[in-house]
């Protein structure tokens, strides 16, 4: 997705832009401070109890008890201070850092507000955050892999869905590991089909992606309603259990969150690490990025633009297949119609948030995963905020970010353009 700077932005000097964004950050922080104090602070009574230990922990931490109203007012004061700081000379240097810190604190006050007078398992929520970030982070990586070679991949959603479906069926028949391999293979095939459509047959990349999504949704829904409703034995896949990493898993909180997960969490971490290394530290990655930035130049230097695009899009598809298998083999063990539920599109948003970098996409995915987990857990706390609005929050944030990122993040230059060799 290219986002081009508009003319006025370009003519304005860098300092002016920086100064303006600092001022905007300042107003945002002060607005947050007012919101936190006025909306959350009023009516918060009692203590918020956060449970840090889960049953079965080796080292059980005591509960974290936060007096709600004092905490909220202290944070509001801090936010106001951070905001005011933005209007002082020379604040521009750490402006974004303070905005990030401010947003983080605001989220904690929200949690405290929601938990006031009740108790809430913080560790359980962080654990859910990591689990829910898996398909989004991997989806983001799929987007990065293909957009770095200038292929826009709207079809991530469909690839996830095919991976989930294949994982469930093959997993039911031949066991979880074979199911996982099959999911990766089918994802790769979907990636290759997208590649064939957009690289060889020069179909508009977005239309090809839409077609892949509709095709995957149609095929999996059809087989589910036509076959799986009768043959339940095809849809009873095993679930990969959590694996405790020795020693690390007994660390309080961190052990639960990161080191008692199943292979999908570990696999995602490894795949994202490899993806980052591949793209930015190997000659193959350099070539791939060259193809995404300036295919003509890459071609002149003797690189096979088409082949590099095919390889990257197909590998992306394989990653999507793995991520799709998470929905069935890593989570519920059965396939349901449209069970990915837009996660592929969120992955695309994570890619943009993460500025076309796998690690950035991972960070964005953790934020989305947190929002996802929060939405689920807040239903238990019975806050007055409807869950639908919490579910909306990441999308609204994406909208604001896509609009605001102009001039700061840049898609690969040739993104979305087919390459026609003369």
């Amino acid at each position: 997705m290219t986002m081009t700077a508009t003319a006025p932005d370009r003519s304005a000097s860098l300092d002016t832009i920086k100064r303006r964004s600092t001022l905007i950050n300042g107003w945002v922080l002060i607005g947050l401070a007012v919101f936190v104090a006025a909306v959350l602070g009023l009516g918060s009574v009692g203590d918020a109890t956060f449970r840090l230990a889960l049953p079965g922990d080796v080292i059980a931490l005591p509960n974290l008890v936060v007096p709600a109203a004092p905490y909220i007012y202290i944070v509001a004061a801090l936010l106001a201070f951070f905001g005011g700081r933005q209007f002082v000379r020379g604040a521009a240097r750490r402006s974004s850092l303070f905005l990030g810190l401010g947003l983080f604190l605001a989220v904690t006050t929200f949690l405290v507000w929601a938990t006031a007078g009740k108790d809430f398992s913080l560790t359980g929520m962080l654990e859910a955050t990591v689990v829910r970030a898996v398909p989004i982070a991997l989806g983001g990586l799929v987007g990065v892999l293909s957009e770095r070679v200038a292929v826009v991949n709207i079809g991530i959603e469909g690839m996830l869905l095919s991976g989930a479906f294949t994982g469930a069926i093959v997993g039911s028949l031949l066991g979880g590991w074979i199911g996982l391999v099959a999911a990766v293979a089918v994802g790769g095939i979907m990636g290759f089909i997208l590649g064939a459509l957009v690289i060889t047959y020069r179909v508009d990349q977005i239309i090809a992606g839409v077609a892949i999504n509709l095709f995957a949704l149609g095929l999996t829904s059809y087989v589910t309603s036509q076959v799986l409703t009768v043959h339940h034995e095809f849809n009873e896949a095993p679930i990969f259990d959590g694996i405790d990493i020795p020693l690390l898993s007994s660390i309080p909180i961190v052990g639960r969150v990161f080191f008692q997960q199943n292979i999908f969490v570990y696999g995602a971490a490894i795949i994202i690490a490899i993806g980052t290394y591949y793209l930015f530290h190997t000659r193959w990655g350099l070539r791939a990025r060259a193809v995404g930035e300036h295919p003509e130049a890459a071609d002149t230097l003797g690189l096979n633009v088409y082949r590099i695009r095919y390889i990257n899009v197909t590998i992306g598809g394989m990653v999507a297949g793995f991520a799709g298998a998470w929905f069935t083999l890593g989570s519920v063990g059965r396939f349901d119609i449209n069970m990915t539920n837009g996660r592929g599109f969120i992955g695309l948003a994570a890619m943009i948030f993460g500025r076309w970098h796998p690690v950035g996409a991972l960070m964005a995915a953790l934020v989305f995963g947190f929002a996802d987990a929060l939405q689920q857990k807040l239903a238990i706390l019975q806050t007055p905020i409807p869950s639908e609005f919490l579910a909306m929050a990441p999308y609204i944030a994406t909208l604001v970010l896509v609009a605001g990122l102009i001039g700061r993040a840049r898609a690969p230059a040739a993104d979305g353009k087919p390459y026609v060799k003369d």
Partner: protein, 378 residues
């Protein structure tokens, strides 16, 4: 994907191929016909692979036909199913012409339908000639406003409309879920997400009840025909339409010619969204009488396929809409009488989109159907 200064405007180039020039009979007629035929064949193969035996496949295809064109009631069902999808497709086609991809018709349709329902169950006692147009108008306006957000973001910041409209779709889904579960939209006494019922004075009149009271075809299809004419007139007979098409063909030339590109983007998105919102309104006021989750029936996404198949021409969209309505109506018959699930239709539809968008693929697959000449370029 957007029109940046470094390179040629590719999206619009690609969309140009969707848009027809005179004399390209092969692309206009042969490619879609082959695409539909190939998609149907592949649908048959899918049935075979999922254990449907050959006589039942035959029964399925015969039901697909008899359920769509086989009788007056089948035709009525076909046109009823074609109504919303033709309207969203008209909007999407208008966007294609101007070089914009409104993937957000689904969300616009959803919110337009919700607004139409809200007006439709409020105001008891209004006469039908005020109540009905008011409900439709509010639906269209809400759809237009929702789409204009994406247009404005693109014009003001350059944010690509595909990503923003996808986000707006997701937001609209959540918003609709919330509205359906809470007063004043939710039907009193219900705990599931469902709206109050539209009053009779806001329902689109049925057209064929004099033949058979069960025929569902309603005045929504008259609105479709009017909109086809209106979009045709707008695109090909007005200055505004000329500006739309010029911006789609070459945004730079359009800008140098003094056209206000930012304004055009917002206006095109708003009209596109108005048509999608109208589609939502027609669906709830013509067929359903209330809103519930998924009431759009994917009309926004199928509209993309219909717009492509109709080559972004209003008349083409009208015909492609009838084809998609026929698949929908025939698919229901297929499910009832041949026991083949209607989800098969979604496979066929997605294949049609892929094939229609890939004339090079169709040329490679059926070389005998085309004149021997070099691959299509722009």
């Amino acid at each position: 994907m957007s029109f940046n200064e470094e390179g040629p405007p590719t999206t619009s180039e690609m969309l140009q191929r969707v848009v027809v020039a005179r004399g390209q009979v092969e692309d206009v007629v042969i490619v879609p016909v082959l695409a539909v035929a190939l998609a149907l064949v592949l649908g048959g193969i899918t049935m075979l692979l999922t254990g449907v035996d050959v006589p039942r496949i035959g029964a399925a295809f015969s039901a697909l036909f008899s359920g769509s064109f086989g009788s007056i009631s089948a035709l009525s069902e076909t046109l009823t199913a074609a109504t919303p999808v033709t309207l969203t497709a008209l909007g999407i086609a208008l966007g294609f012409r101007a070089g914009l991809f409104n993937i957000g018709a689904e969300g616009q349709m959803m919110l337009g339908g919700m607004a139409a329902v809200a007006v439709g169950f409020s105001f008891p006692g209004l006469p039908i000639f005020i109540h009905l147009p008011l409900a439709l108008l509010v639906g269209a306006l809400v759809g237009a406003a929702w789409a204009a957000i994406a247009g404005w973001l693109k014009a003001a910041t350059g944010a690509h409309e595909v990503i923003t409209t996808i986000m707006l779709n997701l937001i609209a889904t959540q918003l609709t879920g919330y509205l359906l579960r809470n007063p004043p939209i939710q039907k009193p006494g219900r705990h599931d997400p469902i709206s109050q019922s539209v009053l009779d004075s806001a329902m689109l009149p049925k057209l064929l009840t004099w033949l058979d009271p069960n025929l569902r075809l309603n005045a929504g299809y008259i609105i479709v025909l009017l909109m086809v004419a209106l979009v045709y007139w707008l695109l090909f007979r007005t200055t505004l339409g000329f500006e739309f098409r010029a911006s789609g063909l070459n945004p730079f030339a359009a800008r140098y010619a003094g056209m206000r590109s930012g304004l055009i983007i917002v206006v095109v998105m708003a009209i596109s969204g108005a048509l999608a919102g109208l589609a939502g309104g027609v669906q709830v006021l013509g067929v359903l009488g209330r809103a519930s989750p998924g009431f759009t029936g994917g009309g926004g996404f199928n509209g993309i396929a219909v717009a492509l198949l109709g080559r972004s021409h209003p008349v083409g969209v009208l015909l492609a809409g009838i084809l998609f309505g026929a698949l929908e109506a025939g698919g229901r018959q297929m499910q009832v009488s041949a026991g083949v699930r209607i989800d098969l239709i979604a496979i066929i539809q997605s294949l049609i989109i892929a094939f229609v968008a890939a004339p090079l693929l169709m040329r490679a697959a059926f070389p005998w159907a085309f004149q021997k000449k070099a691959a299509v370029t722009r």
